[in-house]
């Protein structure tokens, strides 16, 4: 049997983006001995790519803003499927978390009176996003990183991939993984585990996500017996780069639209005016003139329709392309040059300016960008308790994109960075309290450890198996085609069949070389999580026979009244199959229901 290193922590945090680092800081400050696992180097996690900002009702730019308005925007954006309590905690606590980040050393852009500046974003009624140009995620991760390395009791483990959670007696007791640099195995013993592993975007062909985004936390929680929730809801960000092919999918921040960028089709028509859903009509401008006045600061004017929620804008671009009005490479034109001066664009959107100049040879201070939908975020995730972030398996906690419930059927831009801090902190607190109250950590099962190590070495022991890169590419092609932005029963059923065949092929995967820094072997091991999450997405998407938020079906284009009252839960059955069931939404208290008086979440979404 392979050798392995043993390490013990009270709390093991898996994932070192915003949620993971914040959780680790909280748990360590509460006195727990904490291990923080980074799949890459510290500071390179996906949070670094977040651009637009962090939503928090600070009320610095618009004094009418408060947590109730933010809560209402979030629920409406999520098409009322959000866990109301998570959305409430998020809206209430986000301002404290933004101020706290400033106390850790973050340097946000400023208002004229010296406070944190806030910008407009899709679905947010008021300017709400604390930001640093278009590199807010970098600011967040660097600030947290520097805080973490100076927090006593917190140990960082870089370039370490966790493959499996160990469960004994129905409780988590540790995890098995490997060091990427050497390929050596490592077994962590832990009283509590926080999953902060991000999302699943790497299972799609066109994505803004990096190699790390293979759904490790989602899959490990599921395999450990936890519930997953809302897995059918995937956010296709409306503005990814389209051309050249090699950069297709790379994110173009919503900040471009927040700063006044407009969308046009190949006829030069500003098409978003045609796509305002009924329930949002009273909040959005219906003429170009009104939209312009809003941009110039006229408080009586309503917001431009480019600032509708991401699901609506992505579907609109898709519809324009389908009707033959798309850009040369199958997208739409996004123009900021007409709205703002070159100096302003370079100051507020420096990375976008740089990115288009370097990668597409387009000067966005002069010309329009070509953009189209890209897989960006999964709303679904590990089902957690709103206050403690604990999953349905004792000792397993989850936060950030790995957790589900907070964003319902569609996430608002800017609500992710705030989610990371609000629920990262809560998960760290929940895990530290759990670990403190646990009399003794459950013992590890040696048989489990041995079986896991055997499974992990298998791809290197095989000769003449399937190429792991080919399987990953086939999966990306499959998910993009069958379970993509617009879905249909027959296509999805075919997709599911193909998925099950792909799973079969993946069991014969082989990698050459040794275990030391071997991306082929690493890819082979990531396939299990990618396939598990893809299957969960497919099964949930087939079950939800309606269109809502990030789940759009050709065969069921409208909201369904009954389905507006339920979430779909995925759980491993006792026979090891993937089970799916409906769960009624938790009841929102009357005083919060008041905020939605006269609105229905059962009306059509387009």
């Amino acid at each position: 049997m392979a050798n392995y290193q043993s390490i013990e922590h009270d709390v093991l945090v898996i994932g070192a983006g915003g949620a993971g680092i914040r959780a680790a800081i909280e748990a360590a400050e509460m006195g727990a001995n904490v291990g923080l696992i980074c799949k890459s180097l510290l500071g390179k996690a996906h949070t670094v790519m977040a651009e637009g900002g962090m939503a928090a009702a600070l009320g610095n730019v618009e004094s009418r803003d408060n947590w109730k308005v933010h809560f209402r925007d979030t629920m409406r954006g999520g098409k009322m499927l959000n866990n109301w309590r998570m959305a409430q905690l998020h809206a209430q606590e986000a301002p404290d978390r933004a101020n706290e980040l400033e106390s850790y050393g973050a340097v946000f852009d400023r208002t004229p009176d010296g406070r944190i500046l806030q910008r407009n974003f899709g679905g947010h009624l008021y300017p709400r996003l604390a930001h640093v140009g278009d590199r807010t995620g970098l600011e967040m991760i660097r600030t947290l990183q520097d805080k973490a390395v100076h927090t006593p009791g917190l140990q960082v483990h870089m370039e370490c991939t966790i493959y499996k959670l160990l469960v004994n007696d129905g409780r988590v007791c540790g995890a098995v993984g490997y060091w990427r640099q050497t390929g050596e195995f490592v077994v962590y013993k832990a009283k509590a585990v926080v999953l902060a592993t991000g999302g699943i975007g790497k299972s799609f062909k066109v994505t803004s996500n990096s190699w790390e985004y293979t759904g490790d936390g989602h899959a490990m929680a599921y395999l450990a017996g936890a519930d997953l929730i809302d897995m059918e809801f995937i956010q296709f960000h409306p503005t990814g780069m389209m051309w050249p092919l090699s950069v297709k999918g790379i994110l173009v921040t919503e900040g471009v639209r927040g700063e006044g960028g407009v969308l046009r089709n190949n006829k030069g028509e500003r098409f978003m005016f045609k796509y305002v859903p009924e329930q949002f009509k009273k909040d959005y401008a219906d003429t170009e003139d009104e939209a312009r006045r809003w941009l110039d600061g006229d408080k009586t004017a309503r917001r431009p329709p480019e600032l509708l929620t991401r699901d609506v804008v992505a579907r609109a671009i898709n519809a324009e392309v389908k009707a033959g009005r798309g850009s040369p490479h199958g997208g739409a034109f996004l123009d900021i040059a007409a709205a703002r001066s070159p100096d302003y664009i370079k100051r507020k959107l420096p990375s976008m300016y740089h990115q288009f100049k370097e990668l597409a040879q387009v000067d966005i201070t002069k010309d329009a960008m070509e953009v189209g939908p890209t897989t960006h975020y999964i709303m679904g995730g590990v089902r957690v308790h709103p206050e403690t972030a604990e999953s349905t398996v004792p000792g397993i906690f989850a936060a950030g994109e790995a957790a589900g419930g907070m964003h319902g059927a569609n996430r608002l831009g800017g609500n992710s960075l705030s989610d990371l801090l609000v629920f990262g902190r809560r998960a760290g607190m929940g895990a530290a309290n759990y670990a403190k109250n646990l009399k003794s950590a459950p013992a590890l099962s040696q048989a489990d450890v041995d079986a896991t190590l055997k499974e992990m070495t298998a791809p290197l022991d095989r000769v003449d198996g399937e190429n792991p890169y080919t399987i990953a590419q086939d999966l990306q092609e499959l998910m993009q085609t069958h379970i993509g932005i617009i879905r249909e029963e027959k296509e999805m059923q075919e997709g599911l069949e193909k998925l099950l065949k792909l799973k079969e092929r993946a069991s014969r995967v082989a990698s050459n070389g040794t275990r030391a820094y071997n991306p082929g072997w690493n890819q082979a091991l990531d396939l299990r999580a990618m396939l598990t999450c893809s299957e969960a997405i497919a099964r949930a998407a087939i079950e939800r026979k309606e269109s809502r938020g990030g789940h759009t079906r050709n065969d069921y284009p409208d909201y369904d009244k009954e389905l507006s009252k339920v979430n779909f839960l995925i759980k491993k059955t006792s026979s090891g199959e993937m089970g799916i069931r409906k769960e009624p939404l938790p009841q929102m208290p009357a005083e919060l229901q008041e905020l939605f008086k006269g609105e229905s979440n059962a009306t059509s979404q387009s």
Partner: protein, 263 residues
């Protein structure tokens, strides 16, 4: 290398990629299919998928934001994700090597852990108390300089190209440009109260920098490292330790920090 130009069609391209570890290594040749718009990182990924599954490289965002895929491309330290293949002549062989200033782990991956150790030595952000209204007020013009430093993506290209580290390997006496930028971002933060001047002089060894500006030249974020970070830090050290009037002022007032003018 030529300036960027429009590319048409797919061409065949010879690449030479460093393979091996600290004990044994070679430049291995691969022929790849170059599509329009492709960057060097795409070529490396193509080699991984079709020819050498175990070719090691680091990458994450593929958009110049995370600073993971640093390498030396035809001798120049660059991000692989931001280097377009079309910028090289069609017949030119593209050679990719790991960063020279750090020990090779495998192929294009180097051991950059020393940088993380240096960062730990820098005294963390130490803010002054909040105003009576519970906020800190800062004007945008006061933070413009600090925000420039905070654009750093920790790609370590500046560390790679710095003579003190690359040619003289003075890692035990010198922090390197990245950490002068880091120290400057704290020293010039309007809310910060800590004194890092002794550390900048002694453990970061700012005096060893002889201002050749190589770091500024390679910075993919265009941070003016030498002029805006290193020289002002050198000035602080000089006035604290070597300017008789400032030394006297410091002794009388006991104030560790210089007035903020001139930054």
């Amino acid at each position: 290398m030529q300036p960027a130009k429009a590319e048409t069609g797919t061409i065949s391209r010879l690449m030479r990629v460093f393979r091996g570890d600290k004990n044994r290594s070679e430049l291995k040749e691969f022929t790849i299919k170059q599509h329009p718009g492709m960057v060097v990182l795409d070529a490396i990924h193509q080699i991984q998928a079709d020819q050498a599954g175990d070719l090691a490289c680091r990458w994450n965002c593929k958009a110049g934001k995370c600073g993971s895929c640093s390498a030396e491309i035809n001798g120049r330290p660059r991000l692989m994700c931001m280097t377009r293949m079309g910028d090289f002549e069609p017949g030119e062989t593209i050679t990719v090597r790991p960063l020279k200033a750090f020990p090779v782990i495998k192929d294009l991956v180097t051991d950059v852990s020393w940088n993380y150790e240096i960062n730990k030595k820098i005294k963390p952000f130490t803010p002054k108390p909040k105003n009576a209204d519970g906020t800190w007020r800062m004007q945008q013009y006061e933070i413009d300089r600090v925000q420039e430093f905070r654009k750093c993506i920790e790609c370590f290209l500046c560390q790679d190209v710095c003579h003190v580290l690359r040619d003289h390997d003075k890692k035990s006496e010198f922090g390197g440009p990245r950490f002068f930028v880091r120290a400057a971002s704290l020293e010039m933060h309007p809310l910060d109260t800590a004194d890092r001047v002794p550390m900048i002089k002694d453990s970061l060894g700012v005096g060893l920098c002889n201002i050749t500006k190589c770091c500024t030249e390679v910075c993919p974020e265009s941070i003016t490292i030498t002029d805006n970070a290193i020289i002002p830090l050198k000035e602080r050290v000089v006035s604290r330790y070597f300017d008789p009037l400032a030394v006297l002022w410091h002794k009388i007032t006991g104030l560790p920090k210089q007035p903020r003018g001139g930054e």
